[in-house]
């Protein structure tokens, strides 16, 4: 079973929930999603995330960076002066 991390359910009726953000998060590849959740929900350090996910500190950096870049483009699609 592919259960590395369940997709997060969104209660669209709840105005307190940032549905857009959660849905964008759910679109990420599973590893990036897991790193994001460990960081932002679990409050884990890079080292702790690396340990939980069985990977390296630098790989965590890559996962989080890619995830944040993707989310930033999804959620704020009008960047200025952004070099690619």
């Amino acid at each position: 079973p592919d259960d590395i991390l369940p997709a997060l359910a969104v209660d669209a009726a709840d105005p307190a929930v940032d549905t857009e953000a959660i849905e964008a998060l759910n679109q990420l590849p599973p590893r990036q999603r897991e790193a994001m959740v460990l960081r932002f929900r679990g409050g884990l350090s890079y080292d702790a995330i690396a340990e939980v996910m069985g990977t390296s500190h630098s790989n965590v950096g890559v996962l989080l960076h890619k995830a944040l870049r993707t989310l930033r483009e999804e959620l704020d699609p009008a960047p200025e002066g952004r070099a690619v």
Partner: protein, 770 residues
């Protein structure tokens, strides 16, 4: 600096403070802008993902894969509630299909349920999606009617759970069905219905998930009618003809006073929260080996129940060296999720850590035992007895040669970083440890089995690594020949002086060939007879609550590990090679006799599924735990000294109407041997290669110490966390603050022990308690 540099995110998240980055940001406005944009996104995600309040978690309710967590109300069912339940007919309902909540409407409105004077607040229960694919899409409800041990019926309730809904019972009760996970809802005005989380007919599931918690003395069980009275509806609970006979009632569900104002729960009333068990043959071991003691009851647990030595002087259990339970706890807490209560194995948490006392034996024995008594840190009036066992150590270079077959699940479900990648890393570490005289083969299975490495020597490292690196996860899990191929290869290389073993690496999706779990267990047992053991390495999240892995490894004289990090992988690889692979003591078990003159009540913390009947201690045919070289095992007993009131409030059960409620006569002085000792701990094991058991015992006088040794305090802190996570009713008042300070004081400089602090912090945050 490049915008793709991950250090940019690291800076935004406050984990990077280099001058180089500061300069780069100051020099490049575009980079600065990018950082600010990432910062805004990070802030937004932090808000979106903030932990929900402790009560509501809709926004974060997991969707997707089936989850089998029991409804939360379980947590509030204490042992004392079980007192009443044990005396009544139990009706259990299990959800076996996905569906809407609406069919459960009548239940959702229930507010409280009372049995005797105990009321339980009820939560709405949802029709779960567990096993949905297997059972079709309709939400069906399976009802197990459990009257007394040995009698089980099941029925389907097709629509809803209205109190008067008709129930059609199947003609033949499924044999060996066990039910566990109880929720109580009211039926009518005065009666309750037990609704439960899980139902199983797999003998192995039953044996390992559920301790026999309803005990009836042999003669009473034998006199029970094998019939179940006809039941026309869910209100069967009120059907007088189904109430257990008075003889049973007198044993089940009574509290007796200890004469000092506290009530001692009868051991027979030990219905644990969330557990219920009734296979026909589980209670046939009633014969006691000691004349005149037929009214004494063994310690059947669970942890939440204190027992009185006057009634249950002996507590017996098999040692457990598995640490899988700890892997599950760490993983779940790391995710910010609460580990399922029934996945908590306190002994596996305690045994996850290494202890220095007692020192490994030097006397020529395989095992050494030490007993230490100090105050229980969560209740200074209570004593905490730590029994430590150490197995003799063997230098890794002196270990016997090994003949290993690595059986690796490479099905599609393994395709995630915490699974196959971590398996490969584990295997590389294992390869590092092999020597020329070792033999190793690799079998992978997905759609079919293949053998990427056949009978290599341990020092052919390049060959071994190439086979490991080539693994890819894809395809189904239908490798019918996988486990058979593995055993065939192992059998070809069995030789004198070498230890043969199959190591299974999987995420628990166990479709490895023989169609049923029973056949698989049989195969594993048969191959164990051929000298080939089995250990199971579990990866990924679905190993949570998967007791099948533990079952299999137990039958293969091996160990089940949960691997969640490379650090843990390294630990178990070394342990597996020098410890498990080289068993020094087989069927190791402990029996403790408590002195009623000193001990008002006691409880064994953990080992809930390892408890044995009193007479099993001397029975060498009973399989118990095997210890490898260098293993240490710890068992903890919480002891209530005489003169201290015993937990469990008086009046938990009403006085009986038709029987005298007098207290049993206290034993006269002549019946008790005058002794200053608190207890005697007995350890028994079979040295490897011998059929005769060795037995050692140690008697202990309580020295009155308050603070124990570092090992004692640390084991206590781990156990305290386990108790907290398992909703233990007797440690409710212990705060996480106290728990943390216990851990801080005992962890010392040890890096492994320091890890407990983080777990305590995670647990505090996840449980949302002080």
């Amino acid at each position: 600096m490049n915008h793709d540099d991950p250090r940019l995110t690291q800076r935004v998240l406050g984990e990077e403070k280099s001058a180089e980055m500061t300069e780069a940001l100051n020099a490049d406005p575009a980079l600065q802008q990018e950082a600010e944009a990432l910062q805004a996104t990070a802030d937004r995600m932090a808000r979106a993902l903030a932990r929900p309040a402790a009560d509501g978690s809709q926004a974060f309710a997991a969707a997707g894969p089936p989850r089998r967590e029991p409804p939360t109300v379980l947590a509030r069912l204490g042992g004392s509630l079980g007192v009443g339940i044990a005396a009544a007919v139990a009706v259990m309902v299990v959800w076996i299909g996905p569906g809407s909540n609406e069919s459960m409407g009548p239940m959702a409105s229930a507010a409280a349920c009372c049995i005797a004077d105990q009321c339980v607040e009820l939560s709405p229960v949802e029709c779960d999606d567990a096993g949905g694919q297997q059972y079709g899409q309709a939400c069906q409800v399976q009802v197990c009617v459990v009257r007394a041990p040995g009698m089980v019926r099941s029925a389907d309730v097709p629509t809803g759970l209205a109190p008067d809904a008709p129930v059609a019972f199947s003609e033949q009760p499924p044999s060996g069905v066990c039910c566990f996970g109880l929720v109580v809802v009211p039926v009518g005005e005065n009666d309750c219905l037990l609704l439960g989380g899980q139902w199983s007919s797999e003998a192995a599931d039953c044996a390992h998930n559920v301790a026999p918690v309803v005990e009836i003395a042999e003669e009473e069980a034998a006199s029970e009618s094998p019939e179940i009275a006809p039941a026309g509806g869910l209100n069967v609970a009120v059907d007088a003809s189904m109430a257990p006979p008075p003889a049973v009632r007198s044993k089940v569900g009574r509290s007796r006073s200890d004469g000092r104002g506290g009530a001692v729960p009868s051991p027979d009333s030990a219905v644990g929260a969330g557990q219920w068990y009734a296979p026909p043959d589980a209670f046939s071991d009633g014969a006691r080996d000691r004349a005149g003691s037929s009214n004494l009851a063994p310690d059947t647990g669970p942890t939440s129940v204190f027992l009185a030595p006057l009634e249950s002087p002996l507590s017996t259990f098999g040692l457990d060296v598995d640490t899988m339970g700890m892997g599950i706890v760490r993983r779940q807490l790391g995710w910010g999720q609460r580990p399922p209560v029934d996945a908590i194995r306190i002994e596996e948490m305690v045994n996850f850590y290494d202890y220095t006392t007692p020192a490994p034996p030097t006397s020529g024995d395989a095992l050494a035992m030490a007993v230490e008594v100090a105050a229980a840190p969560w209740n200074l009036d209570h004593r905490l007895v730590r029994i430590g066992i150490s197995a003799e150590e063997i230098d890794a270079s002196e270990r016997p040669a090994v003949n290993l077959v690595l059986l690796v699940d490479t099905s599609g479900s393994m395709n995630s970083g915490d699974k196959l990648q971590l398996v490969q890393a584990t295997l590389r570490m294992l390869a590092d440890q092999l020597r020329e005289d070792d033999r190793v083969s690799i079998v992978t299975y997905a759609g079919s089995a293949s053998v990427p490495l056949s009978e290599a020597k341990g020092n052919e490292t390049t060959k071994i690594l190439a086979a490991i690196n080539a693994m890819r996860a894809r395809g189904s899990t239908a490798g019918a020949a996988g486990i058979q191929t593995a055993y065939d290869l192992a059998r070809r290389n069995v030789r004198d002086g070498a230890v043969s073993r199959v190591l299974l690496f999987t995420d628990g999706d166990f479709n490895v060939g023989p169609s049923s779990q029973d056949e698989l267990v049989q195969l594993v047992e048969q191959e164990r007879g051929n000298g080939i053991g089995l250990s199971v390495f579990g990866y990924g999240a679905s190993i949570v609550r998967d007791d099948r892995m533990e079952t299999l490894s137990n039958h293969g004289d091996g160990v089940a590990y949960a691997i969640d990090t490379l650090r843990e992988a390294r630990r178990v690889v070394v342990q597996e090679l020098t410890g498990t692979l080289f068993t020094v003591a087989k069927d190791a078990k402990i029996q403790v006799e408590f002195n009623p003159a000193k001990v008002a009540a006691y409880r064994l913390i953990g080992y809930d599924n390892r408890r044995l009947a009193d007479q099993d201690f001397n029975d060498d045919t009973k399989d118990a735990g095997d210890l490898g070289a260098g293993h240490t095992v710890t068992a903890l007993y919480e002891v209530v000294p005489v003169g201290v009131s015993v937990p469990g409030a008086p009046g938990a059960v009403d006085d009986l109407k038709y029987q005298r409620n007098e207290e049993p006569a206290e034993p006269s002085a002549a019946e008790l041997i005058d002794s200053p000792e608190l207890l005697t701990a007995k350890l028994r094991w079979k040295p490897v290669g011998q059929d005769e058991s060795v037995r050692r015992e140690q008697s202990v006088v309580d020295p009155g110490t308050v603070a124990g040794s570092e090992d004692h305090r640390f084991a206590a802190a781990v156990a305290a966390l386990g108790l907290k996570l398992s909703n233990d009713p007797h440690t409710k008042d212990m705060t996480f603050m106290q728990l943390r300070s216990m851990a801080v004081q005992a962890a010392g400089d040890d890096a492994q022990r320091q890890g407990l602090l983080e777990l305590v912090d995670f647990a505090k945050a996840v449980l949302g308690e002080d």
